[in-house]
């Protein structure tokens, strides 16, 4: 079946004329038709756009002008502005928003010739770890429909796991690529902060937001990251450095690799089965020639409170643009300007978004700025410095992505703090702005578990190399839920 091929195989078969991009794209559109009513992983499906882009890709392939990804369809998280397509950020606030331009990532992948299948479901404004806060209803985990797919890029992870797209874009502010990747048994990488342009990504917390690929394998992610990354002058924090070839190191041996394992990662709160699976995965990497050393991240516990001050503070500022005047939702018959602002925002935003805006504004308000915002920024440095020190004695750090497997839909939706605490392994990486990969490592309670691999700044190629080598000796990334095979 076409959806079981790797990206490289798809590309070869497209060029060899074994099938066309139109046929490949139609195959995925048919699968979306068949499965997505139940899964709810797409907010918008764009069949006409997809087929017309596939036709154009076929012309390029026939003319010998194709790049590796030309003709391979992609699904975009509904946070990426897509010209002429509804871009809702899973919010009632933007339910009527047709983006007037493309995000940089969207235009880069369009230029390569990747047909757009649609826009994937997510937590509203990317604020969540379960994709339950979407205005369009929760996405289900393809492995178990009772479970969440993780979040906020839960729709993206679910479409990859169920074979409803071969590649998907995601964004990761506090773990939103890696945690859903782990919960759905797929591969996802959050690049170094600034490696992929934020232009046209609806902003949540600008000093953390980073886009990355979500795919079946590390090799697929490497190809996709090659197409997504690069300097963009329209993003003021885009890094001005040459973009490396992320596939260049895929085949390198792991002999002599020093893997740091923080004792703090395997403490209280970690599900024992998840712990065993992650340890077994690290043993597998050891068998490939790596050496394991103990490292310490003593300020890990401070990361979650620090992040939940800083990210909502940035959100309270970023989301002030939604005021019912220039775009998005406007309340009915406002009686004056203040009523227009207040009711548009109160009716347009969901509960968690309102909560984060309120708590963020409070943390920035007169009298609390030093105690909350400034303090959190200092802790951010301490967390970052812990990583820098740890990388003096190892090349990468490995551990769990999340303390448990995917939890049930509804299980944590009333307890925000418990939901926030489930991000304890991913958030420190965002505070530090480091790159990190999640690869499938096994199953606990019949739900997928991810291995988290964190590297120093700009070590994406190394992380993908480790992921790829791990995937040469394991087959977790090839597994699909029975009903979607």
């Amino acid at each position: 079946m076409m959806h079981n091929l790797t990206i490289k195989q798809m590309s070869e078969k497209l060029r060899a004329g074994e099938f066309t991009s139109v046929q490949l794209t139609q195959h995925y559109l048919d699968r979306i038709d068949q499965y997505d009513a139940e899964l709810n992983a797409y907010i918008t499906v764009t069949p006409e756009l997809a087929i017309s882009m596939a036709e154009e890709a076929d012309r390029r392939i026939a003319a010998g002008e194709a790049e590796l990804l030309t003709g391979i369809p992609v699904a975009h998280k509904d946070i990426f502005c897509t010209d002429g397509v509804k871009t809702s950020c899973a919010s009632k606030m933007l339910d009527n928003f047709i983006a007037p331009y493309d995000a940089n990532v969207v235009s880069l992948l369009k230029k390569v010739g990747m047909p757009i299948l649609g826009k994937t479901n997510m937590d509203e404004f990317a604020m969540g770890s379960s994709s339950e806060s979407s205005y369009y209803g929760p996405t289900k985990n393809p492995w178990d429909h009772k479970a969440v797919p993780g979040g906020s890029s839960g729709g993206a992870a679910a479409v990859i796991a169920a074979g409803l797209a071969p590649m998907a874009t995601g964004t990761d502010t506090g773990g939103s690529i890696r945690q859903p990747a782990a919960f759905c048994g797929i591969t996802g990488i959050k690049p170094t902060y600034g490696a992929v342009s934020r232009f046209g990504i609806i902003a949540y917390a600008s000093s953390f937001d980073q886009a990355g690929p979500m795919t079946r394998s590390a090799e697929d992610s490497a190809w996709m990251l090659n197409a997504m990354a690069g300097f963009d002058e329209r993003d003021s924090t885009s890094l001005e450095r040459e973009t490396p070839d992320y596939t260049a190191e895929l085949d390198r041996s792991l002999k002599g690799l020093k893997v740091g394992v923080p004792a703090e990662y395997f403490g209280e709160g970690l599900d024992p089965e998840v712990s065993n699976i992650v340890k077994a995965a690290i043993d597998e990497v050891k068998k490939l020639g790596a050496e394991v050393v103990e490292v310490h991240l003593p300020n890990k516990a401070l990361a979650v409170p620090s992040y939940y001050v800083l990210a909502p503070a940035e959100a309270s500022s970023n989301l002030s643009r939604f005021d019912g005047v220039r775009f998005g939702y406007r309340c009915e018959q406002p009686k004056d300007l203040e009523d227009l602002y207040k009711r548009s925002r109160s009716e347009g935003f969901g509960e968690e978004v309102k909560r984060r805006i309120m708590v963020g504004a409070y943390a920035l308000s007169a009298g609390y700025y030093d105690a909350y915002y400034l303090k959190a920024q200092k802790l951010r440095r301490m967390v970052r410095d812990d990583f820098i020190k740890a990388f003096e004695s190892c090349d990468v750090i490995m551990g769990p992505v999340a303390p448990t497997t995917a939890f049930n839909i509804g299980e944590k939706s009333d307890d925000q703090v418990s939901m926030y605490l489930s991000d304890l392994y991913t958030i420190p990486v965002n505070l530090a702005g480091l790159p990190a990969l999640s690869v499938p490592a096994g199953f606990a309670q019949e739900r997928p578990v991810g291995l988290h691999i964190v590297g120093p700044y700009f070590s994406e190629a190394k992380l993908l190399n480790i992921g790829h080598q791990f995937q040469q000796v394991t087959d977790w990334h090839t597994k699909m839920p029975a009903q979607y095979q």
Binding site: S207, Y308, D323, L337, M358, A361, K375, A376, V417
Partner: protein
């Protein structure tokens, strides 16, 4: 630290988010739970630590001060809730 009704109303005003009278107590409780999480930061000694705004300690790039935007008001205002003669319409502010 726990929040009372007055603080919730103050935050509602700051954020221009309406909180209905009957919901104030519930909102106060949920926000207070989050502030309890923030309180965990107090224990850390940050006396000699500089606040960090950017992971790579980079500063934002400046660009040359020239006009780069082209006029796209028709396209951009096509998605606005209410527009007249290239202006965004809001309820009357000045009598």
């Amino acid at each position: 630290m726990s929040l009372g009704k007055t603080e919730v109303k103050y935050i509602s005003r700051l954020t221009q988010i309406d909180v209905r009278e009957e919901a104030v107590e519930g909102v106060a409780e949920k926000l207070s739970n989050i502030l309890e999480l923030f309180a965990q930061m107090e224990a850390a000694d940050t006396k000699d630590v500089l606040p960090m705004a950017h992971p790579l300690d980079a500063v934002q790039r400046l660009r040359v001060d020239v006009v780069t935007e082209v006029d796209q008001h028709e396209k951009l205002q096509a998605i606005a809730p209410a527009v007249a003669e290239a202006h965004y319409l809001v309820p009357q502010v000045i009598e």
